[in-house]
C-alpha cells in the first residue's frame, strides 16, 4: 500500500505541490489527471524518491522514503516522461542491468522473460535499444519499470509522443498490467485515464481538486445528469412537454422523423423518474430512456475551471 501524507514540494518560492495526501491500495490503477504544470510529474518524482519533499511523508509498503530510501526505492518502478534508456545496450542486457541495480533478488532470467512478455518485446530482445522505433523504446521503458516486480509502478505520460496505433498498443499493455500491479499513471490524455484507471485524482495547481471514480467525479461537478430519450411525437411536442419540468436545464434534438424524436436532455440532479412520469402523463410513447455517460473531459474542465460546464 502506498501512502502520501501532506506532501509539499517547493521549487524556489513556488509550491509545485501543496499538502497532497492520498492512499493507493494494492492492485489499484490510479490516474493523475491535470493540465501541464498542475504538479503531476512532481508527485511522481517525489513518490519515486528522485526528489525529496519539502514537507510530508511517503510510505511504500510501510517503508518511509525519508528514513529508508534504498529499501523504499527497491519497491518502485518508474518510467519518467523520457524513458531512461542506454541506446548501445540490447533490450535483454539493459533489463538485466536494471534488475541488478534495483536489487532484484529472485531469478533474474525469469523476471526478464516476464517483463519482455508483458510488454511484447520478444522480437527485439537482442537488438540494441538505439535501433528501435519510438513505440518500442516506450515499451522498453515500461519493461524496465516492471522488471523488478515492484510494489508500485509510476508511469509519467506513458503515451506521450506515440502515434494513434502505438497509443492503442500502450493502452492494451497497461490493461495487461492491471490486476497484477499497483500503478499510478499521470496523463493529460483524458481517454487514456478514463479507460485504464480504477480511480482518478484531478490535480489543479498542485492540489488534488477531486478524487474518485468517474461517476463520483461527475456527481461532484454539480449533480447534473444527461439522458438520451426516444419518444413517439414531434420535437415540438417534446419540447413543450418538458418546458414545464423545472429539472430540465437543456434539450437537444438529435433526430426527428417517422413520428419519433430522439433527444438528449440535461437534468439538474437525477430526475429520470420524474421525467418518465411526465412524458407518459403527456401521452408521449416513451420508447427509450438512458443515462449518457458524462464525458471525462467535461468533468475535467469543470473541476479545473471551477465552474460546472456541460456540453450540449
Amino acid at each position: 500500500m502506498i501512502v502520501a501524507e501532506q506532501l509539499t514540494k517547493y521549487y524556489g518560492d513556488r509550491p509545485a505541490i501543496a499538502d497532497v495526501s492520498f492512499t493507493i491500495n494494492e492492485g489499484e490503477v490510479v490516474g493523475l489527471l491535470g493540465l501541464n504544470g498542475a504538479g503531476k510529474t512532481t508527485i511522481l518524482r517525489v513518490l519515486s524518491g528522485l526528489l525529496l519533499p519539502t514537507a510530508g511523508k511517503v510510505l511504500i509498503d510501510g517503508l518511509d522514503m525519508a528514513t529508508e530510501p534504498e529499501e523504499a526505492r527497491a519497491r518502485i518502478g518508474f518510467l519518467p516522461e523520457a524513458p531512461p534508456l542506454y541506446p548501445e545496450m540490447t533490450v535483454e542486457a539493459y533489463l538485466r542491468f536494471v534488475a541488478r541495480i534495483k536489487g532484484f533478488e529472485g531469478a533474474i532470467d525469469v523476471a526478464i522473460d516476464d517483463a519482455i512478455n508483458a510488454t511484447d518485446l520478444a522480437a527485439v530482445r537482442q537488438q540494441p535499444i538505439g535501433t528501435l522505433s519510438h513505440g518500442f523504446q516506450r515499451r522498453v521503458g515500461i519493461a524496465q519499470a516492471v522488471v523488478n516486480k515492484p510494489a508500485l509502478i509510476l508511469l509519467d505520460e506513458p503515451t506521450s509522443g506515440l502515434d494513434p496505433v502505438q497509443i492503442v498498443h500502450m493502452r492494451n499493455l497497461l490493461r495487461g498490467l492491471r490486476g497484477h500491479n499497483t500503478i499510478l499513471v499521470s496523463s493529460h490524455n483524458l481517454p487514456e485515464i478514463h479507460q485504464v484507471c480504477d480511480r482518478i485524482f484531478v490535480l489543479q495547481e498542485g492540489r488534488i481538486a477531486a478524487e474518485g471514480k468517474e461517476d463520483e467525479l461527475a456527481r461532484k461537478v454539480g449533480g447534473t445528469a444527461r439522458v438520451r430519450l426516444e419518444v413517439r411525437g414531434s420535437a415540438q411536442e417534446l419540447s413543450s412537454t418538458l418546458a414545464s419540468l423545472p429539472a430540465v436545464s437543456d434539450l437537444k434534438i438529435e433526430r426527428e422523423g417517422d413520428g419519433f424524436t430522439l433527444a438528449q436532455v440535461v437534468l439538474d440532479g437525477d430526475a429520470r423518474e420524474e421525467l418518465a412520469a411526465r412524458l407518459i402523463q403527456a401521452g408521449m410513447g416513451l420508447r427509450r430512456l438512458e443515462r449518457v455517460e458524462v464525458e471525462l473531459e467535461n468533468i475535467f474542465l469543470s473541476l479545473t475551471s471551477g465552474e460546472p460546464e456541460v456540453r450540449s
Binding site: Y11, S48, G49, L50, L51, L52, P69, E70, E71, R73, A74, I76, F78, P80, A82, P83, P84, L85, Y86, E88, M89, F97, V98, R100, I101, K102, G103, Q144
Partner: protein, 241 residues
C-alpha cells in the same frame, strides 16, 4: 558494493562499444608517440633514464587530457539523456554511483596507459633503465590520472551537460596544475599551501625520476578521495532541489 560493480561494468562496456573510447586511445597514443620520438628520443643525446623521465612527463600531460574527455561524460551524459533518473530511483547509494563511474573511467585510463608500455620497453631494450623506474613512473601517471579524473567527475556531477562538464573540469584541473605558479606570487604561509596543492609540479616529479614517495601517494589518494566525496555530496544535494 555490487551496485558500484554493475555500474562500472555497464559504463566500461558502453565506452568500449562506442567510437569515443577508441578515438581517445588513438589520440593519446599519437600524442605520446609523437612526443616520444620528437622530444624524448630525437632532440639530442641523452641518458636513457632521462629519456624515460621525459616520456613520463609527456604521458602525465596526455593522461590528464584524456581524463577530461573520459570524465566529462560520466554523470553529465546520464543527466542529459535522462538515465540518471533510473539510477537515482534505484536503491543505488550516491557513493556507489560515484565509485562505479570512477572505477570504469579509471580502468579505461589504465588500459590506455598500458598501451603506451612499448615506449619504455624500447628504452629498456636499447638503453639502461631499471624496471623499478618504469613501475614508479606508471604509478605516478595513474595517481595523477585518478586525481584529475576525480576533479572532472566532480565537474560532471555539477554540470547540466557534457560540454559544461568538460570546460569546468578542464578549468579546475588547469587551476590545480598551475598552483605552483600562484605560489610564487603568494606570501607565506599561503605560498606553501598553494605549492602543496599543485597536482603536478612537486608531487609528480619524484615518480618521474623513479621514486615512489609515500607522502605523494597519500597526497594523490586523499585529493582523489575528497573530490569523489564532493561529487557524492553534490549528487545527494540534487534530491533537495
Amino acid at each position: 558494493m555490487s551496485n558500484a560493480w554493475w555500474i562500472c561494468k555497464r559504463d566500461l562496456g558502453a565506452l568500449l562499444r562506442s567510437p569515443i573510447g577508441y578515438v581517445i586511445i588513438f589520440a593519446v597514443l599519437i600524442i605520446d608517440g609523437l612526443l616520444f620520438n620528437a622530444w624524448a628520443v630525437g632532440s639530442g643525446a641523452r641518458k636513457s633514464s632521462e629519456v624515460l623521465e621525459i616520456f613520463f612527463y609527456c604521458a602525465s600531460g596526455s593522461t590528464m587530457l584524456a581524463s577530461v574527455f573520459v570524465g566529462m561524460r560520466l554523470i553529465a551524459e546520464e543527466r542529459q539523456t535522462g538515465t540518471l533518473a533510473l539510477l537515482a530511483t534505484s536503491p543505488v547509494r550516491e557513493w556507489q554511483l560515484v565509485l562505479g563511474k570512477f572505477s570504469s573511467a579509471m580502468l579505461f585510463l589504465s588500459l590506455m596507459t598500458a598501451l603506451t608500455l612499448y615506449m619504455p620497453l624500447l628504452i629498456m631494450v636499447n638503453g639502461r633503465i631499471s624496471l623499478a623506474h618504469i613501475i614508479a613512473g606508471y604509478v605516478g601517471v595513474l595517481l595523477l590520472g585518478a586525481t584529475s579524473l576525480a576533479l572532472v567527475l566532480l565537474a560532471s556531477a555539477l554540470a547540466p551537460n557534457q560540454l559544461v562538464a568538460a570546460v569546468l573540469g578542464a578549468a579546475v584541473v588547469v587551476v590545480f596544475l598551475l598552483m605552483w605558479l600562484l605560489s610564487r606570487i603568494a606570501s607565506p604561509p599561503l605560498e606553501d599551501v598553494l605549492a602543496y596543492l599543485s597536482i603536478h609540479d612537486k608531487h609528480f616529479r619524484p615518480f618521474q625520476r623513479g621514486i615512489i614517495s609515500t607522502q605523494d601517494v597519500i597526497f594523490y589518494l586523499s585529493f582523489t578521495y575528497v573530490a569523489l566525496l564532493m561529487a557524492t555530496r553534490a549528487l545527494e544535494a540534487r534530491r533537495w532541489r
